[in-house]
């Protein structure tokens, strides 16, 4: 088990380094002078000489006048000290701006994951244990509809019905953490929007895995022994069907992190996703780089955790390692 985890961890390190390198490189791939992309928006109206002066000062301040490899080493060094640089727009440290937003995004992703798993796995089991019935057809159709519905349209529809028409829930914002009663109410609509989308994929996956497992000999043996159907499903079938589902949960978490970018924008939810979108629109490139880096490294870390869980669930993985 430890061997497996060490091997998996060793694989994660070069991928993370490559992700950091790619994100660093993205600034240098900007067409034209990368410093021009970093100039604050207020410089747009200034004349050429002033803009050049601003660009030179910025180039020096950010070390962009240094050779490429020095810049790269400095970037890695700064990241190692958790220094994400300063925003080109607000001039505040990006780390300080991202910290509360990261918490908000994690709350949203975890809440939507709970909804996705509860609905996805639950409906998937129902559907697989009643194959080719009307319930099965409805479940599979709805899961595909969930996957095909743009999250921004679903979010607007939910907002229209539950916030604007009935006034049951607040339409947008996040005045407090989801751990407070008020903050929790603000989390419901974004989490349900994201969770329903994630559930679509999980229904399909759970259904297909359960159908496969329910055809196995050990399930037939359990039934032949006279075991109650509920026990057969939960003790024998589900535990085995869960193994590939758990792997998919890692990918699903990434899907939710990426989906959060859209959902946070719809509900003006102050998370990393909304910060990223605003940074792109404000041409605040250091903030874009840091947000992209944070989301992808979170995704890499979650996949590592999921693999560890996978090894715990499936002894074959441990022994193979």
């Amino acid at each position: 088990m430890r061997k497996f985890l060490i091997r998996r961890l060793l694989f994660t390190i070069p991928v993370s380094v490559a992700v950091v390198f790619l994100v660093f490189l993205s600034l240098h791939l900007t067409p034209g002078d990368p410093v021009m992309a970093l100039l604050p928006p207020e410089s747009v109206g200034t004349n050429q000489a002033e803009r050049d002066e601003l660009a030179n000062a910025l180039r020096k301040r950010l070390g962009l006048d240094q050779p490429f490899h020095i810049q790269l080493l400095r970037y890695f060094g700064n990241l190692a000290r958790l220094d994400l640089g300063t925003s080109a727009v607000t001039r505040d440290p990006i780390g300080h701006e991202l910290a509360p937003r990261y918490q908000a995004t994690l709350e949203l992703a975890v809440a939507s994951m709970i909804i996705a798993v509860a609905i996805g796995v639950g409906v998937g089991i129902l559907s697989a244990t009643r194959p080719n019935t009307r319930l099965d057809a409805i479940a599979t159709t709805l899961s595909l509809a969930g996957l095909s519905m743009p999250s921004f349209v679903l979010g607007l529809l939910l907002m229209l019905v539950f916030a604007l028409q009935f006034g049951w829930l607040p339409p947008s914002g996040r005045p407090a953490s989801a751990f407070s009663a008020e903050g929790f109410r603000y989390l419901i609509l974004p989490a349900v929007t994201l969770g329903l989308q994630g559930a679509g994929l999980l229904v399909r996956l759970t259904r297909s895995q359960m159908l496969e497992v329910l055809r196995e000999d050990y399930v037939r043996t359990a039934r032949a022994k006279g075991m109650r159907e509920r026990w057969v499903i939960y003790r024998h079938a589900l535990r085995n069907a869960m193994i590939p589902i758990v792997t998919a949960l890692g990918l699903q978490f990434g899907f939710l992190l990426s989906g959060a970018i859209v959902v946070e924008s719809v509900f003006a939810f102050p998370g990393v996703g909304r910060y990223l979108v605003q940074s792109v629109l404000n041409r605040d490139f250091p903030a874009v780089q840091s947000s992209v880096l944070l989301v992808s490294l979170t995704f890499v870390a979650v996949n590592l955790l999921v693999d560890a869980l996978y090894a715990l669930l499936d002894p074959r993985i441990r022994y193979a390692a």
């Binding site: 070069p14 991928v15 993370s16 490559a18 992700v19 790619l22 994100v23 993205s26 600034l27 791939l29 900007t30 067409p31 697989a128 194959p131 159709t141 595909l144 509809a145 996957l147 095909s148 519905m149 743009p150 999250s151 921004f152 349209v153 607007l156 529809l157 907002m159 229209l160 604007l164 028409q165 399909r204 996956l205 259904r207 297909s208 159908l211 496969e212 990918l251 990434g254 899907f255 992190l257 990426s258 989906g259 970018i261 859209v262 924008s265 719809v266 990223l276 979108v277 940074s279 792109v280 629109l281 490139f285 874009v288 992209v292 989301v295 992808s296 995704f299 890499v300």
Partner: protein
Amino acid sequence: MTVTSAPRPATAAGMPPRTSLARKFWRRCLRNPATFLSLMFVVLLALVVVAAPLLGRFDPLEQDLMRAFRPPDGQHWFGTDRFGQDIYSRVVHGARLSLAVGFFSVLMGLTAGVGIGLTAGFFGGVTDELLMRFIDVLLAFPGILLAILIVSVLGSSLLNVIVALAVFSVPIFARMARGSVLATKNLEYVDAARAVGAATARILLRHIVPNILGPIVVYATLRMASAILGGATLSFLGMGLAPPAPEWGLMVALGRQQVQSAPHVVFFPGLSIFLTVLAFNLLGDALRDVIDPRSKPV
């Protein structure tokens, strides 16, 4: 007792002839109303793309503030938006943009991805290791995150959106092509081609690529759905096409402030995205069932 069917003629590549797959697919369409409807919808969409100038009742960019926010009626079938633009005409013209983004990004992603996968799988060794680690890095960016980074670097335009979404599609095609090459490159007919002195490019294009065409078509169809959704999402976020382009995602973004007073402004473009993505997903599923019946339960 097992029921065996009459042996079917096989092609040189050992796959059933393509007509048989087409017939199977058509039979599936007739049996499954959802698949049939999705096929009809995609055909209709293709017709709309071709005949958009004839089908649009108004100029999609023509503004008339006197007729802003009109609900659907006999003149404006889908109503009008805040600038008095006819939503039906904009949805019809928007089909061109959405399908262009979907089609060209998938084509680019497919070409690059299959190229990478074929090279990695066929040559193996260090080439394989380097190319597949590069794919692993691309996969470390979940969903449209990489597309957002690319658009933020290149700037937002139709071409840049297509490029960004193409990069998003590369890993899946690369992995699929590599897997298929690994499964086929040591088969006898490939050895035979090598023995008669066929060049590497010929072996890849004539003997290996035809074997992976089926799964590629399936994934390309499913990827069309993701790419159309991705394009609409980028536009919704303000990173795709700029106003007044009649792009579905952008239309939803521009109408969201009036979602309570004029829901039709958001409803029709939103419905168009949903139905188009659903149709491509259903078609992709049906194609997958025909090409690989083992995946039917999914």
